[in-house]
């Protein structure tokens, strides 16, 4: 290996990362995450009643999770699997980075406003919902990965609703309905997120049968 090759080594790695990101439409995904955060910020200017204030962040968190999950889909399939030695790490890195970006963007959107639950709530909900989305991407494929987060959104919205209208759904499996500091809910969300990350890193998103 020449000295010039050594100097150029970071560039192919960066190019690989960029190509991976481009193939997953990650720039568009980042833009949509920013749009979700902007939407949350705009919505927080409105005066919501108790229901609205609690349920509002969850909708944008689910939107972010759906975007991250859909971005996990690959358009290449087998050729990429056969040649990509770094593919599991790229998948893992992309999902983790997008999740971190979503949490940061939504938290920043709520800064200075009344964001129900605060940072911990955003972290737990985005991580858990993204985990569900990544698992759906593995099972159903990237294009259909939104089904899990959106279906879970409905369940969670109802869980929050029962906080006013008993009987309250108190299971930690519906973690958005639990308080931000609740350990059970946080553990459930963390386990689902970890499972989603591992599954997407190892298996990747399922290839669609034909669209």
């Amino acid at each position: 290996m020449t000295a010039g090759a050594i100097r150029q080594a970071p560039r192919p790695a960066l190019r690989l990362v960029w190509l991976h990101a481009a193939s997953r439409r990650l720039p568009a995904a980042v833009a949509l995450l920013a749009a979700c955060a902007a939407g949350l910020r705009a919505a927080l200017f409105w005066h919501w009643d108790a229901y609205g204030a609690l349920q509002l962040p969850l909708i944008f968190e689910a939107g972010c999770a759906a975007v991250i999950a859909v971005a996990a889909g690959s358009p290449f399939g087998d050729p990429e699997r056969a040649t990509g030695r770094w593919l599991p790490f790229l998948r893992l890195g992309a999902a983790a980075a997008l999740t971190a970006l979503a949490v940061a963007a939504l938290t920043a959107a709520g800064a200075g406003a009344h964001l129900s639950g605060g940072f911990l709530d955003v972290l737990r909900n985005v991580a858990g919902l993204t985990g569900i989305g990544l698992l759906c991407a593995v099972v159903l494929g990237g294009p259909l990965a939104w089904t899990g987060p959106l279906a879970y959104l409905m369940v969670s919205v109802y869980g929050l609703y029962t906080d006013w209208h008993p009987p309250t759904l108190s299971t930690p499996l519906i973690w958005p309905a639990r308080p931000p500091h609740d350990l059970g809910g946080a553990l459930c969300a963390a386990v689902v997120f970890a499972a989603g990350l591992i599954a997407i890193a190892v298996r990747g998103a399922r290839e669609p049968d034909g669209g």
Partner: protein, 511 residues
């Protein structure tokens, strides 16, 4: 080499006539029905409705008004995600599979193909919607003690489905990217679920939301659409709005593609304009609404004065010392009511001032500024009463709370009228300590009157809260009197009521 066998020429292709166009479209629709994403999402839609809506609706008391109005408030929102997502998925199909150019050369215009796909998606979504409605209505028909199905809430829900599919489908067709399905679904859910939060008062344009069943701050209450007919005014405007939105979006979809040809695009433009005009008119009509005294929204331009007539019914009455008669829709609560105020009924039956029969009357509502609703629930007095809106089975309402509310209202009203000689004579007088002790001992004994200081209130203001202030000899007398059985109280009151009313008795003279 052999000569090729001449092949007889087949029949020349015949240009499609008007008569065969419909079977062709029907075949296209059948194909779309068989290959539709909504078909696969039907179990998801059913599960979401069961988890979110059905269980809560069926936990409500078996009253048609409560369940139908709650159904309207929940069903469309529960179906929003699967329906909009399926429509967006189907709408983006050509773009997602990169076959838009391929199918552009087929015999049907692009709009016709799109409408067939949209219609198939809508048909499956309506199947889900109608199945959910049927589940609730069949179960309610088996349980309700009075009345029949309220169809307008169901019609509004069913009419909202095509609007959702049109929104999802158009978004998918216009932006066929991988992210469009979740995003348009989130936007539709947010718009539908949170749109009602902007509603304020009975003149609000936002009550056009198909989730709004009746006045915003009353919603599904037991007394609404029970004594008087369900007013379809707001429902008609909502159906007009969702239908207009549907036609408007589908028309714009036809206009937006140059492949449809000028004639078809002109037709689409007319449909779009008509649809959007209908939707705008419906919004304007909703803004002219006002709360009627019976808890429903009246829209003058759509109102039928015949709907103002009260519903005829035969009341359901208890077999108690003083019969308690309620609207038959409330018959299921009669045992709980007689159990709650049975002692008071026994205690005052036959005494001067006691009614021969007590009948439930309708609550009267009045709009206050913003979303405030004034319920004119001031107890009519004498022989009539108003039942609380919080009946057992409603979210957050318990049987114990229901019984307590009855004792605080109907029970207190009965005892107060008998002990003080009725509202008119008592208005000018101040109740004596003995009178207060008897009242307190008869209404929720031991629960409402153990207070620290003496009462200093005028008679018409007596309530459970004010009785809390009894103390000293009056409180001790009340405890003694409360310990007596209802029959013994009745016997004592029959003997001493005149003296008690005249203020000639002291607490020490109570048994």
């Amino acid at each position: 080499m052999t000569a090729a066998t001449p092949v007889a020429p087949g029949p020349l292709p015949v240009a499609p006539r008007a008569g065969v166009a419909v079977p062709g479209l029907a075949r296209l629709l059948r194909l779309e029905l068989r290959h539709n994403a909504m078909l696969w999402l039907l179990p998801v839609a059913g599960a979401l409705f069961w988890f979110n809506g059905y269980r809560e609706i069926m936990a409500l008391p078996p009253m048609w008004n409560l369940r139908a109005m709650t159904l309207q408030n929940r069903l469309l929102l529960d179906l929003t995600i699967p329906v909009t997502a399926a429509a967006a998925w189907m709408g983006s199909r050509e773009g997602r599979r990169n076959v838009a150019d391929l199918v552009a050369g087929t015999a049907r215009p692009r709009w016709a193909r799109q409408l067939a796909t949209w219609a198939a998606t809508t048909a499956w979504a309506e199947v889900a919607c109608l199945a959910c409605i049927a589940a609730v209505y069949v179960m309610t028909a088996r349980q309700a003690s009075w009345g029949g199905p309220l169809w307008w809430p169901a019609v509004v829900s069913a009419a909202g489905i095509p609007a959702l599919t049109a929104i999802g489908f158009a978004a998918g067709a216009w932006f066929p990217g991988r992210f469009v399905t979740p995003l348009v679904t989130i936007v539709a859910f947010f718009g539908l679920g949170f749109g009602t939060q902007a509603a304020s008062g009975d003149h609000s344009y936002w009550q056009i939301s198909p989730l709004t069943a009746g006045a915003f701050d009353i919603g599904a209450a037991p007394g609404v659409a029970t004594f008087y007919h369900y007013l379809p005014d707001l429902s008609i405007a909502q159906v007009m709005f969702t239908t207009g939105i549907t036609f408007g979006i589908l028309g714009v979809l036809g206009v937006s593609s140059a492949l449809n040809g000028p004639r078809l695009r002109r037709l689409a433009a007319v449909i779009a304009a008509a649809g959007l005009a209908a939707a705008g008119t419906a919004v304007a009509l909703a803004g002219t609404g006002r709360l009627d005294p019976h808890g429903m929204i009246v829209i003058p331009a759509l109102h039928d004065a015949a709907s103002n007539q009260p519903v005829r019914y035969t009341p359901a009455c208890s077999r108690t010392a003083i019969p308690v008669c309620v609207h038959p829709a409330f018959a299921v609560f009669l045992p709980a009511m007689t159990a709650a105020v049975g002692p008071e009924l026994t205690e005052v039956a036959g005494l001067p001032g006691a009614p021969a029969r007590i009948s439930q009357v309708a609550e009267v509502y009045q709009q206050e500024p913003q979303n405030g609703i004034l319920s004119l629930a001031g107890v009519p007095g004498g022989s009539s009463f108003i039942l609380t809106d919080q009946v057992p089975g409603e979210p957050g309402a318990t049987s114990a709370q229901f019984a307590g509310d009855l004792q605080d209202t109907l029970g207190l009203q009965l005892i107060r009228d008998v002990i003080l000689g009725g509202n008119a004579s008592a208005a000018a007088a101040r109740p004596s300590q003995a009178q207060l002790a008897v009242i307190a001992a008869s209404v929720r004994p031991g629960a409402v009157w153990l207070g620290p200081s003496a009462a200093d209130v005028s008679a018409p203001e007596i309530s459970g809260r004010q009785l809390l202030t009894l103390s000293g000899p009056a409180a001790r007398a009340a405890r003694r009197f409360a310990a007596l059985p209802p029959a013994a109280k009745h016997a004592w009151l029959a003997q001493h009521l005149a003296a008690l009313r005249a203020g000639q008795m002291s607490p020490a003279q109570l048994p």
